[in-house]
C-alpha cells in the first residue's frame, strides 16, 4: 500500500541525539562524571561565587531588616510612582524563573531530548528566582506583619480577601508556582538522590541522601509511576507557567494607567518571561559548563537551541513593542500619545533607548548561526538580554507611572541605596542558593541523561 506521506529516514533521530552527548560514554562513565560534581571537591571558581553570594545574602538580610524596621519610606517611592524597584524586581525575578518550567515542563510535553541535560539546573534557577521574587511583595507592604490577611481563611473579622484584585491572584499564583516547581524539582531529583545514596561512602551523606530519596529502588513499578507523575506534573505546570506570568501582567493590565492598560500584556509578559529566563539560563549554564567541564553533556547544540528559543521569545517581545506603539498611535488618545512621547524623549528616554538596543537590536545577532555557535557571543548577548529585560520592567513600572493623566502629579523616581541593596541582595541570595544546590545535588539530571544515552545506543 502506498503511504500518503514519506516515512522519515530511520537515521534522522539518532543523528540529532548524537550531538546531545559528546564523547564515547558508557552508562558507568556518564554516571561517574555527573555524580563526581557532587562527590568531588568543587572547582576553584565555586568558592568566590559562594562568598559573593553569601555577602550578597547578608546585604539582602540587612536591607530587609532595615526596611521592616524603618518602613518602605526609605525607598525612593513617591506618590505617582508608588511602585518602584520592588515590583520591578518581583516581575523580573518571576520572569527569570519561567525558563526552568518551560524547559522542564513544556519541552517534556514536546518530547524534546535536548532539555534532559538542562532541566535540573533551570528548575533550580526557577526555585531560587521565585524565592527571591516572593520577598518583594511582602517587603513592599507598608505593614508586612499583616501579610497573611491576603490569604483566604475564616477569621474573627468576618473578612475575606478581595478576589477581584490581581494582587490577590498573585498570591495564589506565586504560591502555587513555588509549590509546583519545588515538587517538580524534587520529583526529578529522587532517582538521582537514590544513585548518590548508593554511591555515598560517608555514612552521614548516605543517610541524608537515603532519607531524601524516599526508598527509591528503581523498580519497573517505580519508573512507571514516576513517568506518569512527571508527565502529569508537566501537563499541569505548562498552563501554570503561562498563567502565573499572565497574572503578574494583570497587576498592570487591570489598571487604567496609559502604558499599563493593554490587552497584549498577558502574552507579552509570558514571552518576556521566557526571553529573560533563557537569557539567565544561558548566563548561568555557560560558566557552569566551563567550570565543571560539562562540554560532553551541554554541547553546542544545547546552547544553540537555547539561543534559538531566546531569539523566538525575544521576537515576541519585539512584536509587542511595535504593537504598543502602533495601538498607542492608532487609539488617538492624547494620553497614549503622551506616553509614547514620554518614552522616546522624556526624562527616562536614555533607559528606553537602551532597552530597545538590548532587546531589539542586539537580539537580531542571534539570527546568525556563527553567533549562536560562539559561546562567548552567547554569554555576552545573554547578559545584555538580562539587562534589557530589567530595563523593560523599569519601562513598564516607572515610565508609565511617572507621567500619567494629571500633569500636577508628574514626578520622577529615584531609587535609594536600600532599593539597590535589596536588588543586589537578591542577586547574591540567588547565587548563594544555586551554588549550594550545585554542591549537594547534581546540577545535571543523571537519570535523564542515562536514559538519553540508552536511547542513543539503541538506535545504533
Amino acid at each position: 500500500m502506498e503511504l500518503p506521506f514519506k516515512p522519515r529516514p530511520a537515521s534522522s533521530a539518532p543523528d540529532t541525539q548524537e550531538v546531545l552527548i559528546e564523547g564515547e560514554h558508557t552508562y558507568t562513565s556518564l554516571a561517574d562524571k555527573l555524580a563526581a560534581i557532587v562527590e568531588n571537591k568543587p572547582p576553584p571558581q565555586w568558592y568566590p561565587v559562594v562568598w559573593i553570594g553569601f555577602l550578597g545574602s547578608l546585604l539582602l538580610l540587612t536591607a530587609a531588616v532595615v526596611t521592616l524596621w524603618k518602613g518602605v519610606g526609605i525607598w525612593g517611592l513617591n506618590q505617582p510612582v508608588a511602585w518602584g524597584f520592588a515590583i520591578m524586581h518581583f516581575v523580573w525575578w518571576i520572569g527569570i524563573g519561567h525558563a526552568g518550567t518551560l524547559i522542564s515542563a513544556i519541552l517534556v510535553l514536546a518530547r524534546q531530548d535536548w532539555r534532559d541535560s538542562l532541566n535540573r539546573i533551570t528548575e533550580t534557577m526557577t526555585l531560587f528566582a521565585v524565592l527571591a521574587a516572593g520577598l518583594f511583595p511582602i517587603l513592599h507592604l507598608g505593614r508586612p506583619e499583616n501579610f497573611y490577611w491576603i490569604i483566604p481563611y475564616p477569621n474573627n473579622l468576618g473578612l475575606w480577601p478581595q478576589f477581584k484584585s490581581p494582587l490577590t491572584w498573585d498570591v495564589l499564583a506565586v504560591m502555587t508556582y513555588l509549590t509546583v516547581s519545588t515538587l517538580f524539582l524534587y520529583l526529578g531529583l529522587i532517582p538521582d538522590l537514590a544513585l548518590l545514596r548508593e554511591r555515598a561512602r560517608n555514612p552521614v551523606l548516605r543517610f541524608v541522601y537515603g532519607a531524601l530519596s524516599l526508598g527509591w529502588t528503581g523498580s519497573a513499578v517505580h519508573w512507571h509511576r514516576y513517568r506518569a507523575a512527571y508527565v502529569l506534573l508537566a501537563g499541569l505546570a505548562t498552563p501554570l507557567v503561562i498563567s502565573v506570568h499572565s497574572v503578574v501582567s494583570l497587576d498592570f493590565a487591570y489598571s487604567l494607567i496609559p502604558g499599563w492598560h493593554l490587552t497584549l500584556f498577558p502574552p507579552f509578559f509570558a514571552s518576556g518571561a521566557i526571553y529573560s529566563g533563557f537569557a539567565m539560563a544561558l548566563t548561568l549554564v555557560i560558566p557552569l559548563r566551563a567550570w565543571y567541564k560539562l562540554e560532553d553533556v551541554i554541547t553546542p547544540t544545547h546552547l544553540e537551541w537555547m539561543a534559538r528559543i531566546l531569539l523566538a521569545a525575544g521576537l515576541g517581545v519585539t512584536y509587542v513593542y511595535v504593537f504598543e506603539f502602533f495601538t498607542g498611535w492608532y487609539s488617538g488618545e492624547p494620553y497614549e500619545l503622551g506616553l509614547i512621547k514620554n518614552r522616546v524623549s522624556g526624562p527616562y528616554a536614555p533607559y528606553f533607548w537602551a532597552e530597545m538596543t538590548a532587546n531589539v537590536a542586539v537580539l537580531q545577532l542571534l539570527w546568525f548561526p556563527r553567533i549562536r555557535k560562539s559561546v562567548w557571543a552567547l554569554f555576552v548577548i545573554s547578559i545584555i538580554a538580562n539587562v534589557g529585560m530589567w530595563l523593560d520592567r523599569f519601562d513598564i513600572v516607572v515610565m508609565s507611572l511617572n507621567r500619567d493623566f494629571l500633569p500636577s502629579s508628574w514626578q520622577l523616581y529615584f531609587p535609594t541605596f536600600w532599593d539597590w541593596a535589596l536588588y543586589i541582595g537578591t542577586l547574591g541570595f540567588y547565587l548563594f542558593g544555586l551554588a549550594l544546590f550545585v554542591r549537594f545535588f547534581p546540577p545535571i539530571a543523571i537519570a535523564e541523561l542515562l536514559h538519553l544515552l540508552h536511547k542513543k545506543k539503541r538506535h545504533h
Partner: protein, 227 residues
C-alpha cells in the same frame, strides 16, 4: 542502624508526624493566634482600684444602668461615673469601709479614680452607644449579665449567637449588623437586665427593625465603624 520494617515504621511515623505537626501549627496560627482565640481577657475579671460590684449595685440594689452611665442614651461614650456619683451615697453609707478609701481620697483631692477598662476596641473603630440604645439593643446583648458580676469581665459569649465570634471583635459586630432582627428588643426593655428574648424573636425583631427604621443594607459598609 535499624533495618527493614522497623526503620520503615520510624520513617513513616516521622513523615506523617512532621506533616500533621505542620498542619496543626498552621491550624493554631490561623484559627487561633491570628484571630484572638487565645485572648485571655474574656471571662476573666479585670482587677480594679476599688472592687466595685455591679452585682450589688445593679443586681441587688436594683439601680438603673443610667443612674451611673448617664450619657449612654445621648453620647457615643457611655461614660464611667465620676467620684461625685459614688459620693451621693457613700458620704452616708459605709463611710469608713477600707475598700472605699480610694473613692474618699479622690473626693478629697479631686484626682479621678483610675478605673481599668474592660472593653476596649481599637481607636480605628468608631463605636456609638446611643444609636444602639435608641434602636433597641439591650445592654445584656453585648455586655452579658453584668448585674451578676462581682467584678466586671468581658462575657466570653454574651449572646450565644455564634460560638466562633469573640466578644467585641469584628465578626461579633457584623453578625448583628447583618441580621439585627435576631437581637433587637423593644426600646423600653433595653435597660431591663433580666429580659429574655421571646419565642417569636425573629417575627418581633423583623417588626422592630421596620418600626425603628434600621437600614440593614448600609450597616456593614466600612464607613459605619471605621471612620
Amino acid at each position: 542502624m535499624l533495618k527493614g520494617r522497623r526503620r520503615n515504621a520510624i520513617v513513616k511515623a516521622l513523615f506523617y508526624g512532621a506533616v500533621s505537626a505542620f498542619a496543626a501549627l498552621l491550624l493554631v496560627i490561623f484559627s487561633g493566634a491570628a484571630v484572638g482565640r487565645f485572648d485571655p481577657r474574656p471571662g476573666n475579671p479585670v482587677p480594679q482600684p476599688v472592687p466595685f460590684s455591679h452585682k450589688l449595685h445593679a443586681g441587688e440594689l436594683g439601680l438603673d444602668c443610667r443612674y451611673c452611665h448617664a450619657a449612654v442614651e445621648q453620647a457615643a461614650y457611655a461614660g464611667i461615673p465620676p467620684t461625685e456619683t459614688c459620693m451621693t451615697c457613700h458620704t452616708q453609707i459605709k463611710t469608713d469601709s477600707p475598700l472605699l478609701e480610694p473613692v474618699r481620697q479622690s473626693w478629697a483631692t479631686g484626682e479621678p479614680i483610675r478605673w481599668n477598662r474592660v472593653v476596649q476596641v481599637p481607636d480605628f473603630v468608631y463605636f456609638n452607644h446611643s444609636i444602639h440604645v435608641q434602636k433597641g439593643v439591650g445592654c445584656a446583648t453585648c455586655h452579658g449579665p453584668v448585674q451578676e458580676m462581682d467584678v466586671v469581665y468581658m462575657d466570653p459569649q454574651p449572646v450565644r449567637m455564634d460560638p466562633n465570634a469573640q466578644p467585641f471583635q469584628m465578626l461579633f459586630c457584623l453578625n448583628c449588623h447583618r441580621a439585627p432582627e435576631r437581637f433587637i428588643r423593644p426600646k423600653e426593655e433595653v435597660f431591663n437586665m433580666s429580659y429574655r428574648p421571646p419565642e417569636n424573636q425573629l417575627e418581633l425583631g423583623t417588626r422592630l427593625v421596620e418600626a425603628y427604621g434600621i437600614r440593614k443594607e448600609g450597616l456593614t459598609s466600612c464607613s459605619v465603624c471605621h471612620r
